[in-house]
């Protein structure tokens, strides 16, 4: 699979996760979101940016449970819960938000 952004071709694996993490840009994120039928808004960007920061710091995409706990701690319980997160990313924050954030699939996610 691949994405087209600003005339550039960005390679991705068969599930749509980009191959080279350095290829990521906000424009690419919008493009990946489109293929997931997701409209990027402030709330979704908040989660995507959080994931990117988490990866930057720990070199892993967190498991969903860990992500929700970490969001709860930094943004409060009204955002750090399953319902909120699955409303933003119906097919799972791990599957969709990580993909949009340009991260590998979370370890242990099948």
């Amino acid at each position: 699979m691949e994405y087209q952004v600003n005339g550039k071709t960005i390679p991705a694996d068969e599930e749509g996760y980009i191959t080279n993490l350095d290829d990521w840009s906000p424009e690419l994120a919008e493009e990946i979101a489109k293929t997931e039928n997701i409209e990027m808004d402030e709330e979704r960007w908040e989660v995507v940016n959080f994931l990117r920061d988490y990866y930057q710091e720990y070199q892993i995409a967190p498991a969903v449970r860990v992500l929700i706990k970490a969001i709860k701690k930094s943004m409060g319980p009204e955002k750090g819960n399953n319902k909120y997160m699955y409303e933003l990313f119906p097919y799972g924050p791990a599957k969709q938000a990580c993909k949009i954030a340009g991260l590998p699939k979370p370890t242990g996610c099948v």
Binding site: E57, Y58, Q59, I60, P62, A63, V66, T107, G108
Partner: protein, 135 residues
Amino acid sequence: MSDVKKFLYVNRKAPYGTIYALESLEVVLIGAAFDQDVSLAFLDDGVFQLTRDQNTDGIGVKNFSPTFRALGDYDVTRLYVEKESLDERGLTADDLQEIMYEDEDDDWAEKPAIRIVSRAEMTDIMAEQDVILSF
């Protein structure tokens, strides 16, 4: 709940020469989903996994040492490091990176996850486990 078992992951290999160290860490992260009582042991060359200032830019492999600092988020809060193994390799506790976790039972106080133990203590820790996974 009585079906919580004590799991110990024993790490005895240096980080980048073989895949053992990274594989161990990945299994720990995956296994953490099962709500067991998990701790990690570092002895022999395994203590090299925790040294600070690792930079793998020049060898083209991922530096996974920052990931140890995420273990607290996965409720893995005990990293036992054997003192004799450090001594044999000319290392001290100061050569290891700082790994903190937040203690849920103590108002989320930040505490160090690394515990330096003697060889005799490490032997006792191993003897307390239900399951030992070696890497």
